[in-house]
Amino acid sequence: MPEGMQGIVADWSSDQRAFKKVPWGKAMMWIFLLSDTFIFTCFLTSYMTVRMSTTVPWPNPSEVFALTIAGHHIPLILIAIMTFILISSSGTMAMAVKFGYEKNKKMTAILLVVTALFGATFVGMQAFEWTKLIVEEGVRPWGNPLGAAQFGSSFFMITGFHGFHVSVGVIFLIITAIKVIRGDLDNERPGFLTGRKGKYEIVEIMGLYWHFVDLVWVFIFAFFYLW
């Protein structure tokens, strides 16, 4: 048995496998998502802490995020539409994974592009929401005219970090779609970053990340917008 540094490498990489029937990359994506869960929970927990401890009334999200459409004042409508868009993108992503394992190149690519378009629409609507809040309502991370100052800092931190995740997801969806269209996954062409052989399991790994982004939105929608 090798000793020293060689020994460490040998011991940790020896012929053991904890997560059976799961490709290596998929297990790693799950572990990354677990760490991301901790990050988002830290944000949501700090939001809970500041909202519970402030003595100033919290702005009513139902009113703050209301829109007047065709003369009708509808509460929280923008956020509701964003929620449906993100859920739809999760639906198309799940089906892209299914067609990927069937090696149906055309359908996988189409569904990945549709998912990316939904994601981009979501980010666009979020940009509209931020602009409205900053320019029209005067909400800032350090204060706002509507109530507790912590509203702005929690809002920009939580939705900003989530929007960043969606944006990164859109970029990787496009990269995955290009790989599918180019036939990288059929020809096992090595990836540009890791050099690992192209396989259809990368579509499922991409899907895990994308569904996670949708999952985080479920919690943000419940605790920030509805509570």
Partner: protein
Amino acid sequence: MAHTEGQQHPISIYFWIWGLLFVLSAFSYMVDYLHLQGYLRWSLIIIFMLLKAGLIVSIFMHMAWERMALACAILIPTGALLVLIGLMAIEADYTFFTRGIFFGAG
């Protein structure tokens, strides 16, 4: 490889879950639209949220079909977060209480 490690399920299940998520999201939105308040509002928000989260993780992310070892490795550590939330809730309550005394006394 794809046969032993890939996840193959009929497409109908994805349409079903998609539809269910739409219905549950509509219900969540109705909680706000109908101006439900108090414990009814909070419990409905949490019920719909957990149902949606469960459907996404178990079906869309295929956790329902993974081996127990993976499911436990990913799901059990999140229990630590419940402890964090509990501790922070107590802390926030205490801060609110002391602020009440401080600002109340002027």
